[in-house]
Symmetry: C2
Subunit: 212 residues, 2 copies
Amino acid sequence: MKPTRAAQHSAEVRARIIEAAGEVFAECGFGGAGVHEIARRAGVNKAMLYYHVGDKAALFGETVTANLGRIHAAVAAAVAAHTAPRERLKAIPRAFVATVREHPYLPQLMLREIAAGGPNLPAAALAEMAEVMRLTAATLDDGARRRAFRRVDPFVTHLMFVGALMFMANALRLKGRFANMLPIPAAAAGGLESLSDTMIAIVLDGIAVKKA
Amino acid sequence: MKPTRAAQHSAEVRARIIEAAGEVFAECGFGGAGVHEIARRAGVNKAMLYYHVGDKAALFGETVTANLGRIHAAVAAAVAAHTAPRERLKAIPRAFVATVREHPYLPQLMLREIAAGGPNLPAAALAEMAEVMRLTAATLDDGARRRAFRRVDPFVTHLMFVGALMFMANALRLKGRFANMLPIPAAAAGGLESLSDTMIAIVLDGIAVKKA
DNA sequence: CGATGGTTTAACTGACTGGTTAGTTTAGGA
DNA sequence: TCCTAAACTAACCAGTCAGTTAAACCATCG
């Protein structure tokens, strides 16, 4: 009812802070990140972090929850946009990749969060994760009902997709340093999109030759 | 030529330090880890870290390289122990899992290292990684020659296996907090071994039903 | 015995950390 | 125009950090 100019500005500052926190936490980890640097990148005084958001842990929690929300929204839209099981399943990693393209620090942040074991993860963040997993499960179930998919464990499948994608997104940054010791892999040249598409193709049709 | 008692003791202290460093880096990340805590767990004075190994970055590099070496050795042994392509490929994630069972902090450490982008990774560590990837590639190539496997990108396949495994190993620690919001997944009850076996089965035979 | 050199220790330093607070500026309604 | 509350700042605090140093320990060997 009252989107006064002040309130708008306040929300914008808060958003800037959370975005900056995402970058810094992704680059340095929770322990390595400094609130001073977060304030610097957000272009605000350090005390404003505490005024608008809270202490370092709150900053972290807000950041992670916001990013999980983005992923959830993207995956939900992708699933809704397709009906054919195969295309629908393919769309899930693509939604991840598209979100990552907009927020390049996201995979780093997520990997760090998972590695940390989530001591600073609010329940809301867990709920977002569970929602996304449910979307994968529903897609797999729908595909199985329509005789397009075999019945596979949705929990394992989802973890595999997400884990592999997040890992790949981060591993890509090491590509340059591998140049001397490995033949440059074809699929890596196209970036994360290419890796993702190659992966989903392998998982859909399997590695083993089809038995007669 | 001179495994004097003193030199032996020195090597043992060094090993204790590197083991302790692995634990602490895994739990807290590079930035969050304190050299004081590493020394405490190793049961040595803080200054001994600098005497036997070096500064914090050196400690980290040595730790990561040592653990990658363990994985490399385990995977190499697993590949050598099997000849049938399917069994050989299955053995690779199992080797990972077995190594993780002996060193529970390993997946955490690896995930954090990948997330960090490896600024403290010595070339030796990269070389170990490349060697392991080559083992996967060789297994896939052998399987394809023997008409047991389709030709798939070995780079993507390897990253997918390793990424998914490391991610799952870490995600398992969140299992308890998901209990209220998700039906407890069957495969998760058996721990990482079960998840790994389920995953490899999915990837080998694919999600899609086989076309006639 | 005493000298030697690798090993270990406690004490210390200066830089930096997350977090607070007293006080100032700005916007908006009466 | 004045007043109030929100937004903001600079300075500061107490504690922690990685890293150093000088002195002491101790096994070995002449």
